[in-house]
């Protein structure tokens, strides 16, 4: 699929800001009127963004990363009955993904049922690189993974040694990825939450 190689063949950032703006104008020459107007109105802000150094890196084998936070996005066809089973399972969990807490590098993850319940979209924000992330899931929560993913076609099982390839095959790298605090890992967040609490207690005592 052409989209999967997007990360690899990004153009080199050798264009000047003026050249980039020129390119934007060319691109939007045949855009809907709304887009053309917005481009002209938004040029001052856009110029700042175009002048900034690249904020995007890769997450290793596949996917994008900003700072320390990466994205993973897969579309997985459901097996017969899989959508119903996974929906029931997720509803019973009521948002309590203690298993994901156990992994320790997950920021967020979503399960979305698309195309009339024929496919699962799974998208997550996580710390670090693709290979280590999947290894972590396999090592720390193989049962939970099997419970989710057995509902999808061709899933080989987390212990099969083939799960990583299977995920890779279904992953589509994002074309763009934005993270508000790119250097804030899940671990650093836990530390800062503790520091914040300690500071408040200290101030209470002093006060």
């Amino acid at each position: 699929m052409p989209t999967q190689t997007a990360t690899a063949n990004r153009p080199k950032q050798s264009l000047t800001v003026d050249e980039k703006i020129q390119k934007m104008r060319e691109l939007y020459a045949d855009a809907p009127e709304i887009g053309k107007t917005a481009l002209e109105n938004g040029l001052p802000t856009l110029t700042q963004a175009l002048a900034a150094p690249s904020a995007e890196q890769t997450a290793g084998r596949i996917g994008l990363r900003q700072g320390k936070v990466s994205e993973l996005c897969v579309f997985l066809p459901f097996v017969k009955g899989g959508a119903k089973r996974l929906r029931g399972f997720l509803q019973l969990l009521e948002g309590n993904f203690r298993a994901a807490d156990a992994v320790g590098t997950v920021h967020d993850m979503r399960f979305v049922f698309v195309d009339n319940d024929t496919k699962l979209l799974f998208a997550t924000a996580y710390d670090g690189d693709f290979d280590e992330y999947i290894d972590d899931f396999a090592a720390k929560i193989p049962n939970a993974m099997d419970l989710w993913l057995c509902n999808c076609e061709g899933y080989p099982g987390m212990r099969s040694g083939k799960a990583k390839e299977w995920i890779f095959d279904h992953q589509i790298a994002a074309e763009a990825w934005y993270v508000n605090s790119p250097n804030l890992t899940a671990a650093e967040t836990r530390r800062l939450e503790k520091v914040g609490k300690a500071v408040e207690e200290l101030l209470d005592k002093i006060g």
Binding site: L46, A125, D146, V179, N180, V195
Partner: protein, 210 residues
């Protein structure tokens, strides 16, 4: 669409844990063997999770979408307008991840653009603070031009200033069936505050050690 009614029909919190486990077993009765084994292995920790379910239950993000604590999810899948995929890809590459507009909104945790089905449709997914309506209003008031530059790549985009824009988004949004946030109480603003405190504490400790 069946999936859109998922949020209001979630079972009540007070259903007994045993009953949930029973429902799980029923759900997995015709699952592949691997799944049944996984379920039995995972049951002990699942039971303790279910018992603590009150702690971090998933709630509605308002008009559409779900929320954990302060953090909500928005997932939109919509067709590209003719030429839209090519235009948007080029724009995104020129921007190279520098979404200064995203920072301006102030409630946006992360956002991704994914091109699917051979560039015929796109997926736009974000994690944000609070309720759906104020979030969309924020985009409209703070970064209207950026929104139109990007979203005019999609079929039927009415323009961020159009009174129809919220209907367009709702029509293409699919609420998640499951949503996990590692730090559900950490808003973008709170993350900023904590980073600030962390830095101040580090400097303070450095001074003590001088």
């Amino acid at each position: 669409m069946a999936t859109q009614t998922a949020t209001p029909t979630k079972p009540k919190q007070d259903s007994a844990v045993e009953q949930k486990i029973q429902e799980l077993r029923t759900l997995f009765a015709d699952a592949p063997e691997m799944a049944k084994t996984g379920l039995e292995h995972a049951l002990p920790s699942l039971m303790s999770q279910a018992a603590e379910a009150q702690a971090s239950e998933t709630e509605s993000a308002g008009r559409i979408g779900i929320r954990q604590g302060t953090v909500s999810e928005l997932t939109v899948i919509a067709p590209f307008a003719p030429g839209g995929a090519k235009r948007l890809r080029a724009v995104l590459r020129l921007l190279n991840g520098n979404f200064s507009g995203g920072r301006k909104v102030g409630t946006l945790h992360n956002m991704r653009f994914v091109f699917v089905d051979n560039d015929t449709r796109f997926l736009f997914a974000t994690a944000y603070d609070g309720q759906w309506d104020p979030y969309i209003d924020d985009f409209a008031t703070k970064i209207p031009d950026e929104m139109d530059v990007i979203f005019s790549a999609f079929e039927g985009w009415p323009g961020i200033h159009s009174p129809k824009v919220k209907d367009w988004i709702v029509k293409h949004q699919i609420p998640a069936e499951g949503w996990y946030v590692a730090h559900p109480d950490l808003s973008v603003a709170e993350a900023g505050r904590l980073k600030h405190i962390g830095k101040a504490v580090d400097e303070f400790l450095d001074k003590l050690n001088e």
